[in-house]
């Protein structure tokens, strides 16, 4: 990240000298830093509202009910020998939170799952097939109700803020499937 950031800044300065716009450079910095603060404030109220609402959900048994419904579907993707009760619960909670767009809560369960899964695996320090699949499910982001994104669209007065839902679902599901197929193939090819 650091290299990329430095490259962008240096490149911009070189280009601005090349095009003779160097006098505008500081102006761009001051207007854009003002914009950063505005953006932050715009998002602040809404983000906090959703984290507040989801904190209520996190503390009720409802989320465990949803997680229970998911378990049979999930068990098809994983090697059952290395899955115990605890892994199963954390994993289901992680995926439920991800689907509802509760990122912060999802992270906590995700970390626990990764820890337990690598404990259950025989080879230490090497990704087990189960953990690899679990990570792909996390990186592909299967969001059914992208609360924060839709809230942003509403905030900026989009014509049809929910219009993006269908293409979004298609994108999420296809990219998740591609990721899972890729990792299943790679896990067979790349030896432990």
């Amino acid at each position: 990240m650091s290299y990329i950031w430095c490259t962008i800044i240096i490149l911009s300065i070189i280009v601005s000298f090349a095009f003779g716009t160097a006098d505008k450079f500081i102006e761009i910095i001051s207007t854009s830093s003002l914009k950063a603060i505005q953006n932050c404030l715009t998002l602040l109220g809404m983000t906090c509202f959703w984290t507040g609402i989801f904190n209520v959900l996190k503390n009720t048994s409802l989320i465990k009910c949803i997680a229970k419904i998911l378990t049979p579907i999930l068990s098809k993707l994983f090697n059952k020998e290395e899955i115990n009760e605890e892994i199963n619960e954390n994993m289901s909670l992680n995926i439920t939170c991800n689907m509802l767009g509760v990122g912060n809560a999802a992270t906590v369960y995700g970390l626990k799952t990764a820890e337990e899964m690598s404990k259950a695996s025989k080879e230490k320090g090497v990704v087990s097939d189960n953990l690899a699949t679990f990570i792909i499910i996390n990186t592909a982001s299967l969001q059914l109700i992208p609360t924060s994104i839709i809230s942003i669209l509403i905030l900026y007065k989009a014509e049809r803020p929910t219009g993006i839902l269908v293409p979004l679902w298609i994108t999420s599901i296809v990219s998740l499937l591609v990721g899972i197929i890729m990792i299943k193939v790679l896990n067979k090819v790349v030896k432990k």
């Binding site: 602040l44 984290t51 959900l57 690598s118 690899a132 293409p167």
Partner: protein
């Protein structure tokens, strides 16, 4: 009608959260306040990233450096229906969550919320994750040193998500 149903999902979700809290006899308001506090902390924590990235992206765009960079492949991008404006977010989505969120807002403000660019950026934002960060974090939690292709598979999924966002929005059905 369908539009109305979709739009009702969020109030319904809020209702479910509150009601399930009341049924479980929790102090719903206190939980809400705790959550808001958490959100406040997170936002404060990502602010430096937002500032750094907003400045960098504005410089890249307003000094015309982005145009210069993309000029060799510009006509190719145009022919395949890829607007220049979504290149930064497509590139940064897998690397930094704060950066890509900033770029989404930036895209909406610069191209308008109903533009092709904004719709594509929205789908890229919601349809993929901060892959590099998530993998680093989960590997650290499991003390993993050998990845066996997880990064390759994760990034492939991201590329597919970006391509689909471009193709689906260009179809103009939604």
């Amino acid at each position: 009608m369908i539009q109305y149903i979709f739009a009702s999902i969020m109030p319904l979700l809020i209702l479910i959260c509150i009601v399930s809290g009341v049924i479980a006899k929790k102090n719903v308001f206190a939980l809400f306040i705790d959550g808001v506090n958490e959100g406040l902390k997170v936002t404060l924590k990502v602010f430096p990233h937002i500032l750094g990235i907003t400045i960098a992206v504005s410089l890249l765009r307003d000094t015309k450096a982005l145009e210069v960079l993309l000029s060799p492949i510009c006509s190719l991008l145009e022919k395949s229906g890829v607007p220049q404006g979504i290149v930064p977010i497509a590139f940064f989505r897998s690397i930094s969550g704060g950066a890509s969120m900033t770029m989404l807002i930036d895209t909406i403000e610069n191209y308008g919320v109903n533009s092709k660019e904004s719709k594509m950026a929205t789908i890229i934002m919601a349809g993929s994750e901060t892959t590099i960060y998530v993998i680093t974090m989960l590997f650290a939690a499991g003390k993993i040193t050998k990845g066996r292709g997880v990064i390759v598979a994760g990034l492939t999924a991201d590329v597919i998500a970006v391509l689909l966002a471009i193709i689906l929005i260009n179809m103009n059905w939604w």
